[in-house]
């Protein structure tokens, strides 16, 4: 789906965070409960930050159409598995995908404050990914 409005971009980001929260809560029941529950809590807070950014960042002065960003390529398949290594692998994929999306979307957003929020979230994804990779090894 083409993400051609500010609301569509932030809305898609919120969907990704909600999917992450749900996935991590499921993972916690299978393995590494402390790690995955912490990630789930963070994802919930990240979603709330995006909602606040959408609410406080919007200005009807800057509602120009956005081109060149699609949700294709950022869709995630997150089935819950019994195998902890597969859970970790998909979690790493989730964090990489989110980071890619936030960096790509930052280029398209017309509002500086929201760009900063997206870049901070991308930086957090980078940290979370390295923590998950440590667990993998």
């Amino acid at each position: 789906m083409e993400l051609s409005t500010f609301g569509a971009i932030v809305g898609f980001a919120m969907e990704l965070e909600r999917a992450a929260e749900s996935y991590y809560q499921g993972c916690a029941e299978a393995a590494h409960p402390e790690v995955f529950l912490a990630l789930a809590r963070e994802s919930k807070k990240r979603c709330a930050r995006l909602e606040m950014a959408r609410r406080e960042g919007i200005s009807e002065m800057i509602l120009e159409a956005i081109t060149g960003l699609s949700s294709e390529g950022y869709q995630l398949d997150l089935p819950l598995q019994a195998d902890p290594s597969e859970l970790l692998r998909r979690a790493c994929l989730l964090e990489e995908t989110q980071e890619r999306f936030y960096r790509a979307a930052t280029e398209k957003l017309p509002i500086k404050e929201v760009q900063r929020t997206f870049l901070r979230l991308a930086a957090e994804n980078e940290r979370r990914l390295s923590e998950l990779r440590e667990l993998q090894s």
């Binding site: 789906m1 200005s59 002065m61 509602l63």
Partner: protein, 484 residues
């Protein structure tokens, strides 16, 4: 589904209107009936004025700091319902969800600025104007004020006025648009929770009868209006006749001038938002593009191509970029304007009748429409259409562009797209319009600035928002004192 009939909010309570006249409130995207609004009786407006006057005496004695705290509480309550309010605006008006969120944000910004009223309504003084004699100027509230609100920003516009009025110590009555009253109803549900003293803020649904009753009531000290020029002029005249202050933000026919040195990519994006945002139903929309010299050929093709790609549909769909117009009457008026433009010889480059609506097309839809070859004498160049119809006028030079702007009786807004400071300075200096954009397609003043307007676009002295609002809602009392 039960169709809810709205009530008035008078003296701190919801009150059923005694009228037998009601209007259906329809969702422009689906034509579904969302509710019924009463066209209240004049005596109901009088009751609201009496309640507001009775509340004024106590409210006026509440300290400015305490009044400001109500503003902070109201802001937090609105932030908590931000998305609900935004979705309600989409349903009653038809604008897209991002536009509705922008409207809610702008409304809340006025409350934030009004919370600074304790500083803004400070007076001034001088010692020893004569030996041993001091002189003070203090700002005092006057009493009851009212607002007659438009349909196009049904939530935001009353907040250009009401927060400042009550933060200054006045009391208030809002008469919402009878076409789009639901977001104001929701605002009052929230106001009720914030628990202002009864009578401080009141809501009376209705039409001309309610407005006339408020303009005739001896306790109403002033009126704020946003709407068409004929109605604005009539309200201004009646308010003046009855000794009331008035500020009437009225009609518009705004021009966006494109110089040969303009950044075309940015210009096209701005034109689309300016002309087709809110489906062209805004007093700051630029519905005439004035191309200067050779930029015409370079601009028109990408403009038409981009406009043709705009996604039109239900504003709750986040992928949609333009919603329907507000009513069947609006759609019929726009169709007539398009026919007239064709008859008068304008060249139709993009026909909004052909638009492919995303999803359910059973709404008041017309797509972006663009005419070239428009002459200043055509109705398309002179009449406020209030829809997504854009006309392009081609001129040879900057002076001719100013002539096009100034031939209009209106003076609400004007924009210039250029990369040269000298054209920007000339434009800013000479154009007779109240809201000027330099490389800005929608010159919407932020809450701490007045919302401008000149000529037939504004009747009054003081505008809404910012410091103008404080001046409008207070009187100056000069005190000269001496002690023996």
């Amino acid at each position: 589904m039960v169709i809810r009939t709205m009530q008035n909010y008078i003296d701190g309570s919801w009150v059923e209107s005694q009228t037998d006249r009601f209007l259906d409130v329809r969702n422009p995207a689906t034509k579904e009936i969302l509710g019924r609004v009463p066209l209240s009786l004049p005596q109901e407006a009088q009751l609201a004025a009496q309640a507001a006057q009775a509340a004024f005496l106590g409210w006026r004695e509440t300290t400015p700091y305490q009044r400001a705290r109500y503003m902070f509480r109201l802001k937090e309550a609105l932030e908590a319902r931000f998305e609900d309010l935004s979705e309600m605006i989409v349903r009653e008006h038809g604008k897209i969800i991002d536009e509705a969120r922008g409207e809610v944000r702008r409304g809340i910004e006025n409350i934030e600025v009004a919370a600074g009223t304790p500083s803004m309504m400070m007076g001034y003084n001088a010692e020893d104007v004569a030996a041993g004699i001091d002189e003070d100027c203090i700002l005092q509230p006057l009493g009851v004020f009212c607002c007659v609100a438009p349909f196009n920003f049904p939530f935001m516009v009353p907040l250009w006025f009401m927060p400042y009025a009550i933060a200054c110590g006045n009391t208030y009555i809002i008469k919402p648009s009878e076409i789009c009253p639901l977001s104001q109803n929701m605002l009052f549900e929230i106001l009720d929770e914030v628990d202002f003293p009864p009578g401080v803020i009141n809501l009376v649904h209705g039409d001309k009868g309610v407005v006339d009753a408020l303009l005739e009531h001896p306790d109403v000290k002033g009126v704020s209006f946003v709407g068409s020029t004929p109605v604005g002029r009539a309200i201004y005249a009646k308010a003046a006749k009855n000794g009331k202050r008035a500020q009437c933000q009225s009609g518009a026919k705004n021009c966006l001038v494109v110089m040969p040195d303009a950044d075309l990519h940015g210009t096209v994006a701005s034109i689309l938002t300016s002309a087709f945002g809110t489906a062209g139903q805004r007093c700051l929309a630029n519905s005439l593009i004035v191309t200067v010299g050779e930029v015409h050929e370079r601009l028109v093709k990408p403009l038409v191509e981009s406009a043709a790609k705009m996604r039109v549909g239900n504003g709750l769909d986040q992928s949609v970029q333009m919603g329907p117009v507000v009513s069947q009457a609006a759609l019929d008026r726009i169709h007539r304007a398009i026919e007239q433009a064709l008859e008068q010889g304008a060249r139709l480059l993009l026909d909004g009748h052909d638009v492919e609506v995303i999803g359910d097309s059973n709404g008041f839809y017309i797509g972006p429409t663009i005419f070239d070859g428009v002459k200043p004498s055509m109705n398309l160049a002179q009449d406020e259409i209030f829809g997504p119809v854009l006309g392009i006028i081609h001129v040879d030079d900057f002076e001719q562009a100013l002539d096009v702007i100034h031939q209009s009786p209106y003076g609400n807004a004007a924009s210039l797209f250029t990369s040269q400071g000298k054209w920007a300075r000339e434009f800013k200096y000479r154009v007779q319009a109240g809201n000027i954009g330099i490389n800005i397609g929608i010159a919407a003043p932020i809450a701490s600035f007045p919302f401008g307007g000149m000529k037939e676009s504004f009747f009054g002295d003081l505008h809404g928002q910012g410091r103008d609002a404080i001046q409008f809602f207070t009187d100056r009392k000069v005190v000269i004192s001496r002690w023996f």
